[in-house]
Every structure is written in structure tokens, then in C-alpha cells.
Symmetry: C2
Subunit: 304 residues, 2 copies
């Protein structure tokens, strides 16, 4: 199966107090890379992971708080130094544009590539990006500033060819794409072999959702039905539920409630406040509601 992997480059919150780095993730979908948020240090983490920068063409930024975008100046500049020529696309709430413009104006005059800004409407659940194999949908979140999550959905895959059947009926390779697309096969004797005998069903398309930063939003679940892997911020533990509410963040328990209601495959929590002293307890609070919960950590790679 082609890769659909999530790299955790940073999963802390704003103050660099607990050994975590500010938020940054990289999604590898069939060898195309998508960056989600770009906290300070993203380019150094990227260098550590050893992914090729030329495979990254789209960056999605959830909101205009520094711990989600202060890695952009360094990343954009370094791509220029490395001789990039391909366009780079940044998808983000409108408020980020002046910051990107400032970087480009004052630091990137000599760069050989262009950066395009695509505004994400944080009030709508709608498709914000599409290519041959993937759709990206915005997820309206409730934070102190306009904020969107992102849902990455693989497009429906083609069925698998059964090679033994191709051989049995002596079907030429030139017909493989037609059969994948649903065609039956007619033998020289005029027998019709139904497509269902020539193929195995396609793998179900995979999906990943990124929800950060947000107050607990029960209605998120409707957009996340059956998502394979859900990252949901869990800035605080239960002891700080009131503070979570006040600062428009979620607790680990609330993250798990969203995962449970959505019927998610797995839940990944992160964006830990410095107040989370015991991450195991944090995880336990999530697991009480949704057993398939995990802690995110820098350097992890998750298969979606």
C-alpha cells in the first residue's frame, strides 16, 4: 500500500518549558509531503527527520499564534538557499498574510521561487485543496483567534487486479487500466468475465484529521466520522478544565470525547501545556473515554 504517514516534528504549546517543541507535523501521502503548522524550529526538525524538501509544496497553518507559524521565516528562507524553484503554497487564515509578506519583502528578495498565499475561511467546512489522490477540508474550530483544523482524505482507490485471472484469461497488460476502472472482459469465444472476478475490492481510502487549537466542540465529530487517525489538541488535564474553557483549549478527556463520537480509529493527543506534569496521567484521562488514545511526541512516525 502506498504510504500515508504522519511525522510529529513538534507537539508542545506556546512556552518552551516542558521539553516539547512548538507544533509542526508533516503528512506523507503517497510520497507527497504536506506540512501542518510550522512552529519555531520546524526547519531544524525537518533536517533531523531527513525528508526531502522538494517534496513539500503545501503548508497548512491553523491559526495566527506564534507557536504555530514562527518556523515559517526560517523554512521559507532555507528553501531559497537550497535553490528551490518550485512554487510553495501556504493555506492559512487571512491574518497570516501580512507576516508572510513581511518575510518575503525583507528576507527573500533573491529567491528563485514563488510563495502563494491561499486564504482559509475558518468559519466553513469546505474543500481547500485537491489533487489526484487527496482532498483537504477545513474544520472550523473555536479558539481565541480565527482557527481551522484540516481533514486529509485520500480519494477512493482503484480495485486491485488479480494477476492469476489476467493469466488464466490471457488478458493483455494494455487492458489493466480499463479493468481497474471497472470493465468486464470478453474472451475470444464471446464469454463475458465479470469485473468482480478479475479484481479484488479497493483498499478503503484513509483519512487523517488535525484539530488544534480549540475549545471542546462536540459538533466536530460530524465531520470526522470514521477518520482513521485523529490528532486533537489536549492542552490541559482534567484539573485545569476551567482554564481550558477560558483559554479556548481542550482537555485530554474532551479530545477523547470527540474521537469517541466520531468513531475514530485512533486518537493522538498533544499541544501539552507546561502544566501537564505527568503525560501518562494525561493519557489515562483520554483512555478512560476512548481506549485507542496515544500521546504524540517529537520524532514519532504514525502509519495512518
Amino acid at each position: 500500500m502506498e504510504p500515508f504517514k504522519l511525522h510529529i516534528l513538534g507537539c508542545g504549546s506556546a512556552k518552551p518549558s516542558n521539553g516539547h517543541l512548538p507544533t509542526c507535523q508533516v503528512l506523507d501521502i503517497r510520497n507527497k509531503l504536506f506540512m501542518i503548522d510550522c512552529g519555531e524550529g520546524a526547519q531544524m526538525q525537518w533536517a533531523r527527520v531527513g525528508l526531502g524538501m522538494s517534496r513539500l509544496n503545501h503548508i497548512f497553518i491553523s491559526h495566527i499564534h506564534g507557536d504555530h507559524c514562527f518556523g515559517l521565516p526560517g523554512l521559507i528562507s532555507t528553501m531559497g538557499l537550497l535553490g528551490r524553484t518550485a512554487d510553495l503554497h501556504i493555506h492559512a487564515p487571512a491574518g497570516l498574510k501580512p507576516f508572510v509578506d513581511c518575510i518575503l519583502t525583507h528576507f527573500c528578495q533573491d529567491m528563485d521561487y514563488d510563495v502563494f498565499f491561499h486564504e482559509v475561511d475558518t468559519t466553513q467546512h469546505q474543500m481547500v485543496y485537491e489533487d489526484r489522490s487527496v482532498e483537504v477540508w477545513s474544520l472550523p474550530l473555536k479558539h481565541r483567534v480565527p482557527c481551522a483544523g484540516f481533514l486529509f482524505k485520500e480519494k477512493p482507490l482503484l480495485p486491485h487486479i488479480r494477476p492469476e485471472m489476467l493469466q488464466a484469461y490471457d488478458i493483455p497488460v494494455s487492458q489493466v487500466n480499463n479493468i481497474k476502472a471497472g470493465m468486464d472482459w470478453t474472451t475470444p469465444d464471446g464469454d463475458v468475465i465479470p469485473n468482480s472476478r478479475l479484481t479484488r475490492p479497493a483498499d478503503p481510502p484513509r483519512s487523517y484529521a488535525y484539530c488544534s487549537d480549540t475549545q471542546y466542540m462536540p459538533r466536530l465529530a460530524q465531520w470526522l466520522k470514521g477518520v482513521n487517525l485523529l490528532f486533537h489538541e489536549a492542552t490541559f488535564g482534567e484539573g485545569y478544565a476551567k482554564r481550558a474553557q477560558q483559554t479556548c483549549h481542550s482537555t485530554a478527556r474532551q479530545a477523547a470525547m470527540v474521537a469517541e463520537a466520531a468513531g475514530a480509529g485512533r486518537l493522538l493527543v498533544g499541544h501539552y501545556s507546561g502544566r501537564v506534569k505527568d503525560e501518562k496521567m494525561h493519557l489515562a484521562e483520554a483512555k478512560e473515554v476512548f481506549a485507542n488514545s496515544f500521546l504524540s511526541n517529537e520524532g514519532q512516525v504514525w502509519d495512518v
Copy 2:
């Protein structure tokens, strides 16, 4: 003796390719902290070193390349999150101001402290900061954009009191400051005890110079006479002398030539290009010219 220490937070160059972090140093002069350049990741490095942020009030930025200032957004924001109320002063070439303004406008509206920008004229060797115990002088450098180094000079210190003499002549404690300031002592019998018998000479004032980034500039030495510790960029080794010239950088050998001509106490080299594969060889090239040369590295603390 009161502290005069240099912390190396980052000593790499623009591309994060060789395990080093972009440039950032912190100078602790008699418990006041001064930051020199602020590359990406400065705040995370700061947290690792464990210095108190409230002791930092002045940041000196040499020039407007990202690897020397992309840590500012995160540092300024985090100081706000930590509840800072004291003014912060940034001393830098004029070109940095729009970047600082952009950060303050778009990310720091709710901050309880003010940031003041002080323009450094990179064409002049002049005093750019002064307090009771230290002077900071700009050092004109030759780089692709306006660039200044900084010379930190302790002000002349007061002589040491000889406590045994205070006792011998029964001199009241109230007179200590006067004697430190040079006063002789007249005994009740009218004998005049010369100041030189009551004190030991003051420690010689210490100095630290920071020269980055720059082409080889022989005339730098005139401003650095007898400096105790000199940091001089050494982006390239001898094999890349031509590239150093073209990109307005120095080789390790050239850094050592400046140290030698200035009669510096010690030389610290850094700002290593990714092309420096063998730092020991790099050091050897400097030592050939100036024996008291050392490699800078993240986490080091140097006593000036």
C-alpha cells in the same frame, strides 16, 4: 570577581545542515544579560541554559539575515506570555525595524511590555549603549547587507580595599566608598595614610568582541586592541577562501589574523558553513596563525 561570561546558544550558519543552530550568544556581564544575535531556536536554547529572562533587557542584532534574527518572534512573544513588564531594547541596523514592527503588530497586541528599537549605524565605530558598568561599541563590518559587530567593554573598575588596613587604622565602614574612589585617610593624630597603602589596584577591565558576518577586514584589529575574548566568524576553511571572499565571509585563518593583529587574549571561531566537514582541521588552520584559538559550540560557557 564579578561574572563576565559568554554563553554560546548557537554557532552555525544559515542552513541547518551540520548539527549546529543558527547564531545566538548571551553575555552575562556582572549579572546583566545581553543577547547578541537571535537565530531561530534562541528561546528553546535559552530555556535549556536556564538563565532568567528578566535579566535580559538588551538584544544586539548584527544584520538582517534570517540566521541572525529569526528567533526574535518567538523570544518576544514568549516574554509576553511569561508576564514581562520591563522594557526590552533591540539595537540593530535600520533594516530590522519593519520585521520587529510586524511581529509586534500581528502577534503581540496583548503584551504588557514595550519593545524599543535603537538603530545601529553600521558605518561607524561608536558607543551604542552604556550603563554603570559597561559600554557597547559598534564595529563596522563588510557583509552583503549592512552589518555591525559589537565590542563589550567593562568600565574601569574601582580598586580593592585592603581590609587589614581598614582595621589597622580603625577606619569606619562609612569611608569605604570614598577610599575606593581615591581618598587618602587622615588619622586622629593628623597622619596622612596615602590611598595606595589602603587599596590594591583594580582588576583590569575586561572586554569581549563579536565579529559576524564579515569579509576579512584587517582594519578591525585597530578597534580590538587587547580584547580579552574575540569571537570572529570563520564560515569557511582555506579550501573555500575564494567563496569566502565572494560571499563576504571569512576563513578560520583570516579570523586568526585579526586576533593576532589585535593582540587578543583568546579567539573563538564559529558560524560554520555546512562545507566545514572537519572542525578540528578548521581549528588547526586558525591555530597556525593564532595559537590561542578555540572552536565555539552550542552549550559552551566562556569566562571572559
